[in-house]
Amino acid sequence: MANSHQLKRVDFIFRNENDWEKVLSSTIKKKPNELINELISSELKGRGGAGFPTGLKWKYTSEEESDEKYIICNADEGEPGTFKDREILSKVPYKVLTAMAVCGYVTGATKGFIYLRGEYKFLEAELNKEIAEFEYYCNEINFDFKISIFMGSGAYICGEETALMESMEGRRGEPRNKPPFPTQVGYMGKPTVINNVETLVHTYTIFKYGAKKFYDLGVQYSRGTKLFSVSGDTPKPGIYELELGMSLQDFVYEFGDGDTKAVQVGGASGFLVPRKKFKDAAIGFKGKLTGISLPTGGSMMLFNSSRSMFNVLDNYLEFFREESCGQCTPCRVGCQQLLLGIKAVKRGDKPALYLDKLMRLTETMQLTAKCGLGQSVANSFSSIVENFREEMIY
């Protein structure tokens, strides 16, 4: 394959570097514009799932006129099969803090928040110590940037950026209408940059080593490295930093147990790839040149031949049914229909053809749901039902 390459492990993110003070003080000597251009030229895209170009996000926010702006680090990490952000925050939190401060410098914000999922409460105390140390240094160099932690309370949907802001504002985590986007109207109605934990760490790498170093890794449309959370039927579960653009074939060769039947890329809201498509699939953002390209927040879950794909889908749908915020019709009712529907087919209460009606329903959900949650239920549903139809019926 032209646009994919051999699996390559890299070590940027967790490389322990005790020079964040230097990185911070030297970076904020550059002009905001320079930094934005550096980011844009690195072609870094968001690692939280949606893959929006980070440089542009910062640029848009920097261009907004406002008395107040905010930087939010999205550490809600709720996608099943994803656990890399936790590792970052426990191993190299200072990189995240530094990146947030630089982002504040670039966009004109002086206040940052880390939205930490309730499940990671145990990280809070340590992180607060890091923040105190960090702010102490900022104070020393006369740099005005404050960071505080906002704890989530067990709601997957609060990872969605606008739901997250609703949650921080003390309300139910119901996603907002877009437009306007957070870069214009974000937290408390002010322009806001919201980035995933890992995205922020990549900006640290870029500011420290330069955009070229980052750009040279990966493939077209999918530059740099990415953290992968590997779980399921694998002898080597864990967190790995790999160059983007690898083929799934190579990945399974490295991480599979020899009997891999399918891989779920991107968690419950991602895609299931069956063995026969491993070699055509590359991991990276959508682009014209790649075959099947699979954007992902980094969850890679392997299933071997002992697993029932019906059970997998059933588990995902139950997840969505509960974790949907419930405000919009296609998602709230759609998730219930899908879950009950596959059970009915399995029991024989509905004919196998009913699966096709459900597939059309997921299309409607994708077209009409208010936010990414409802829109992406179709991903796992259709990829599982298409590829493992028999398992759904018998």
Binding site: E323, G326, P330, R332, R360, Q375
Partner: protein, 596 residues
């Protein structure tokens, strides 16, 4: 062109004002996009998704209600993709919905039903979710029935209660498949802060929130030969009823309404406007007495500003949210309750009917009045002063059931005793009306001259502005009122409880130096009441307000103190304003309630 964007809708290019949504643009072009969660009175939620349209070049569909037009947009409102998605969404809503339309109060006037019918949803392929849900019906409130099995979770009621009323009795609770509309701790509506205003009922697209109806009870009373059934009609009903019977918004149907009520078999058709005029005499006197006590006697126990008390939604709101400030309220009962108390005393005596034979019915634009009639203290005649309260909508149902061709009815006049009214009584139905009526009378009592406004129209208190203020300087008062000489009487008017909150917070903080404030629970006043025809929105409220003022303008008597029946009432029965009998029958006390 700077503030215009160029778009095309279904292939036809149009210029649209910048900032307008796709929905508004389509409406301008005469294209209806179906909606459910959208309501002109409320902020945009964008959650039902039936309004989705296709925008060329975008993979996903966009919610027309929530998407601003941008230059160059090519919009398709009825493509195959749109239709299929929309149908799916309606089907999904129905799968969750107890769609037994024939047994539903909103049958025939339900936005979901219309959509299902327009899109010809003839089958139900999806799995019926209703049997799996533990839907409950709350029938404990005397005003409102809440049936969760009919709720489409559009959150219109929640936004109404928060944005228009500032009460926040309703909320969305839980998430995912369990998400529902409920109250604090899922208590019954009667046990929470709800004011019974019925705005949520008026804004609900389905039968999930409806008024508690007393239609059968009223028919039974009418059919009972041993009962004398009197009916009173509130001012705002006459400018709303027509709408419910197919006429244009703002149709004035006073005479036909009276004719219809007679044909329905009511023994006496009377006017709440009569007691509105009476209210002005009592309340006006109360205001002057308070002014005297404060300004002359320095009585610290008497509170200013004095607040009107004719809107029971507003009263309950005060009882819940400002329990420490109840002494700002006038002690006057609402016109409905004054009427009720007199019907079974004064009227009974004058007509020589035993009070226990009288059934007193009122037709109101309001659901809070149902609750008010149920208040234990509203028994001053020795009986339940008002037996049944029907909304404007319920009256329309009676008229339809009786098979009356409303349009063809010859207008007739109200019966007498307690059927006379002035223009001042009529304008009770619109925000600012009570204030205007009071000023017309009070100014004249104090100075002996007409209130100094062109043709008695006190313009500063008219209109739909959230909070209105007016100041009237008293000059050359009669001797008795000399202490008011040179005083500027400061008045304020607020309608919709969210605006009432603004004013009350100022009063609470001691930052409001008004003497007199009119509060009405509903936006626009009673003409926008929770019992008025659905839909109601700003445009419709304007039309009804015009009708009310036209009604006032058309009357020869336009000041409450000119009402000869009121004068007779004092002469024959009450004695004097604020006298002992008035106190017993026309005034009331208030109850402190839990804020939550």
């Amino acid at each position: 062109m700077a503030n215009k964007v160029n778009i095309s809708i279904n292939g036809f290019p149009v210029d649209i004002e910048k900032g307008k949504t796709i929905l508004e643009a389509a409406e301008e072009q005469g294209i209806t996009i179906p909606t459910l969660c959208y309501h002109k009175d409320l902020c945009v939620a964008g959650n039902c998704r039936v309004c989705v349209v296709e925008v060329a070049g975008q993979g996903r569909l966009s919610a027309a209600c929530a998407t601003p037009c941008e230059d160059g947009m090519e919009i398709l409102t009825n493509s195959l993709k749109v239709r299929n998605s929309r149908k799916h969404i309606i089907e999904l809503l129905l799968a969750e919905h107890n769609a037994d339309c024939t047994k539903c109060y909103r049958n025939g006037n339900c936005e979901l039903q219309i959509l299902a019918s327009d899109y010809k949803i003839m089958t139900q392929d999806f799995i019926e979710l209703v049997p799996l849900k533990k839907y409950s019906i709350d029938m404990f409130s005397p005003s409102i029935i809440k049936d969760d099995s009919k709720c489409i979770r559009c959150q219109r009621c929640v936004r109404t209660c928060a944005e228009l009323q500032g009460v926040n009795a309703l909320t969305v609770a839980h998430k995912g498949d369990e998400m529902k509309i409920t109250t604090f701790f899922e208590k019954h509506m009667r046990d929470v802060v709800c004011t019974n205003c019925g705005q949520c009922v008026n804004h609900c697209p389905t039968g999930a929130l409806v008024e508690k109806n007393y239609i059968e009870e009223v028919w039974e009373a009418i059919a009972n030969p041993n009962k004398h059934v009197v009916v009173q009609t509130a001012p705002a009903v006459r400018v709303g009823l027509g709408e419910e019977l197919g006429l244009e918004a703002g149709s004035r149907v006073t005479g036909q309404m009276v004719a219809a009520l007679k044909r329905l078999g009511f023994d006496s058709v009377l006017d709440t406007d009569f007691t509105a005029d009476l209210t002005i005499i009592e309340e006006g006197t109360e205001l002057l007495t308070r002014l005297k006590k404060v300004l002359v006697d320095g009585d610290k126990n008497v509170k200013l500003p004095m607040a009107t008390s004719c809107s029971p939604g507003w009263i309950k709101y005060m009882e819940h949210l400002y329990p420490e400030h109840l002494d700002h309220l006038s002690t006057c009962k609402s016109p409905q309750q004054m009427f009720g108390a007199l019907a079974k005393t004064y009227y009974a005596k004058a007509r020589n009917i035993e009070p226990n034979k009288i059934v007193s019915v009122s037709i109101m634009p309001c659901t809070a009045k149902k609750f008010e009639a149920f208040r234990p203290e509203m028994h001053d005649s020795g009986y339940r002063d008002v037996d049944y309260v029907l909304t404007t909508r319920e009256l329309a149902i009676l008229i339809k059931q009786a098979g009356l061709d409303f349009d063809k009815l010859e207008p007739v006049k109200y019966d007498r005793l307690m059927g006379e009214s002035t223009g001042a009584g009529v304008i009770f139905g619109v925000t600012g009306g009570v204030m205007e009526a009071a000023l017309r009378t009070v100014y004249e009592i104090v100075t002996g001259r007409e209130v100094p406004f062109d043709n008695l129209n006190i313009k500063p208190v008219r209109g739909m502005e959230a909070i209105k203020e007016a100041t009237i300087k008293i000059e050359k008062p009669l001797k008795e009122w000399a202490f008011l000489d040179g005083i500027e009487v400061k008045c304020a008017v607020a309608h919709g409880l969210v605006n009432a909150k603004t004013v009350m917070d100022a009063v609470k903080a001691g930052k409001a130096d008004y003497h007199f404030i009119e509060f009405m629970g509903c936006p626009g006043g009673c003409l926008g009441g929770g019992g008025q025809p659905i839909p109601t929105n700003a445009k419709i409220r304007e039309k009804r307000a015009e009708a009310i003022y036209a009604e006032d303008g058309a009357l020869t008597l336009r000041k409450s103190h000119e009402n000869s029946e009121v004068a007779k009432l004092y002469k024959d029965f009450l004695g004097k304003p604020l006298g002992a009998k008035s106190h017993k029958l026309l005034h009331t006390k208030y109850t402190k309630r839990q804020r939550y």
